[in-house]
């Protein structure tokens, strides 16, 4: 009699169990495809370079302070407080700008590096803050902190994923399969932590460092659209035509007034 009375509970519970056990699984991505037999490759002996630097004009906006109260470990790692990493400026040079060939490469084939690109979580920050990775190349994400992080890749063209890293020195390898500029990485545990990853199917990209300088090496002759992307200032494009073995300089200048509208 009681079994009959309990039947509704049992039915609902079994249905719940069935749904709970059928969750999706997470995969890191696909291995890079093999090159076609007639793959066109860049002749290194005839390739040229594009160098330049990215500057910011006007008063550089102040990086807002961030609240690190929620995690004692992070507070300990940042005893003097911390600010956001929106604007990293050396002189007039703007760092953490992702510069890449957006268009003009045609049908060249580029081997995917076997070495993974590294992204570390250290002192409750992503290091580096901006980076690039090739489609099919491994991105090794490590946790050097003695606290928990979740690594949440907010991708649009690629599959969005979220992975917890609860132990120090844990490393997860992920692969993106489609070009995407940029994939935002965030930690939902520590909401100030952000990184930006440019995913491209070719090797012509760089992130401005030391005074806003960049270099795109071993480009074949051709006309290219080059884009410079900044997390707050948006992006700019320029066209450059490169002859065989030619080197050209290409400079980008962002106006800081635009920062307020972004």
């Amino acid at each position: 009699m009681y079994l009959n009375q309990l039947r509704p509970f049992l039915t609902v519970s079994l249905m719940a169990l069935a749904v709970a056990c059928g969750g999706p699984t997470e995969k890191g991505g696909q291995a890079p495809a093999a090159p076609p037999a007639n793959a066109r490759r860049v002749d290194q002996s005839k390739a040229g370079n594009v160098t330049g630097h990215v500057t910011i004009e006007g008063t550089v906006p102040r990086n807002p302070p961030i609240q690190i109260d929620g995690d004692p470990y992070c507070r300990q790692q940042n005893p003097n407080g911390a600010t956001a990493e929106n604007f990293v400026v050396d002189g007039a040079g703007l760092e953490n700008v992702f510069v890449y060939v957006k268009d003009g490469l045609g049908d060249y084939w580029f081997d995917v590096p076997t070495e993974p690109v590294k992204l570390d979580q250290h002192a409750c920050r992503y290091q580096p803050h901006v980076l690039g990775v090739r489609t099919g190349q491994k991105l090794a994400i490590s946790n050097s902190d003695d606290t928990l992080h979740n690594v949440h890749a907010v991708a649009a063209a690629n599959r969005e994923w979220n992975k917890g890293q609860s132990l120090k020195n844990i490393v997860d390898e992920k692969v993106f399969t489609k070009p995407e500029v940029m994939v935002r990485f965030k930690c939902d545990v520590h909401n100030w932590m952000q990184a930006f990853v440019g995913v491209l199917d070719h090797p012509y990209f760089a992130v401005t460092r030391h005074g806003g300088k960049f270099e795109l090496k071993d480009l074949p002759a051709g006309t290219y659209t080059v884009e410079a992307w900044h997390e707050k200032l948006g992006s700019q494009t320029q066209t450059v035509t490169l002859g065989e073995k030619e080197s050209k300089e290409l400079n980008f200048m962002f106006k800081s007034a635009a920062a307020s509208s972004n």
């Binding site: 709970a20 995690d71 979740n150 949440h152 545990v189 520590h190 909401n191």
Partner: protein, 326 residues
């Protein structure tokens, strides 16, 4: 029976606390700070060490713990109701509460695993309010005053007004949940004007949903004011109607104020959460009022033994009421 009623009240109060915890999760953007489900970073939920409750995990994990507790409390409530409650529909309501809380837990897990798709998150928010309504209803209908019966009331307009108000409040909560989960809370960052105008000069989905929530707020305010005024004017001696009507009016005024503060504070998490919790209270109060009105206006009053809760199917007169109430 009195203990079942007290327990049902406890479950309803716990559900409100759960809604508050859920509001804090969304307001602080911590929904994905625990990436796995039903475990927490690989730990069984209830054994996850407190030392690891850091950053956004504090909100998400607390929400999960309260949810687990409410789920457990609801299992007991459903079984208890099933075993002691003579009214079939109340027993079924207990089972509905259990089904709703299980489905709610699954939606919560699903939205984490699927990385907060708006449709699932909105469904989670919508079902939370429905589940709260079920627990409030259980607390109401198991109360001694409900069981003792009530005098009938002749006012064909009142059930329509109260039902329309409750439906409107729930629709408004659904729009609010949509606004919250598509990130449109500041799609119109100015208050009371919309970018300096009465109507948005440009329309996007986010602006449309946000604006709909503001229009909905005006409609709810008007509906509640009308309901309260009607009861104050026509049913002043009815304390069981006057009290919820007055509370409802005060709550909806607070809700409008909180809504304005949410925008003006740029989604400050505590104010934002207070808006969510107060919204749930508006819905629950409106529901209580509606149920009492329906009971008194549409149903033939019946006599129920307060001890056994058995219906005697005898029309209840004032004299009988005094006897039942002793």
């Amino acid at each position: 029976m009195i203990w079942l009623n007290r327990y049902a009240k406890l479950v309803a109060a716990s559900t409100l606390l759960l809604i508050a915890a859920g509001g804090m999760v969304t307001s602080t953007g911590s929904g994905l700070s625990v990436p796995d489900w039903p475990n927490t970073y690989g730990w069984f939920m209830f054994t996850f060490p407190m030392s690891k409750w850091v950053g956004g995990i504090r909100y998400e994990h607390t929400h999960r713990l309260i949810a687990g507790t409410v789920g457990f409390l609801t299992i007991i409530l459903a079984i208890w109701t099933w075993r002691v409650e003579p009214r079939v529909w109340v027993r079924r309501l207990g089972v509905a509460a259990l089904g709703a809380v299980i489905l709610q837990g699954l939606l919560g897990g699903l939205t984490v695993i699927l990385l907060l798709p708006p449709a699932v998150s909105i469904g989670h928010a919508a079902l939370a309010q429905l589940f709260f309504c079920i627990t409030v209803t259980l607390a109401l209908v198991t109360s001694p005053s409900w069981i003792a019966g009530a005098r009938s009331l002749t006012d064909p307009m009142l059930p329509r007004i109260t039902l329309a108000t409750t439906t409107l409040v729930y629709c408004q909560i659904l729009i609010g949940a949509t606004m919250r989960h598509i990130g449109a809370g500041l799609a119109i960052p100015t208050f009371p004007l919309v970018f300096g105008h009465l109507l948005p000069p440009d329309w996007t989905t986010a602006i449309g949903v946000h604006f709909a929530h503001r229009v909905g707020a005006v409609m709810v305010l008007a509906a509640v004011s009308l309901t309260a005024a009607h009861i104050w004017h026509w049913h002043r001696p009815q304390r069981d109607l006057i009290r919820p009507a007055t509370v409802l009016f005060l709550l909806v005024c607070s809700q409008a104020t909180l809504g304005a503060l949410v925008v003006m504070s740029a989604l400050q998490p505590i104010i934002n959460t207070a808006h969510v919790v107060n919204g749930a209270l508006v819905l629950a109060t409106s529901l209580v009022l509606t149920l009492r009105v329906f009971r008194r206006t549409l149903q033939q009053p019946v006599m129920v033994d307060a001890k056994t809760s058995r219906r005697t199917d005898i029309p209840l007169l004032d004299k009988d009421l005094r006897e039942v109430r002793g």
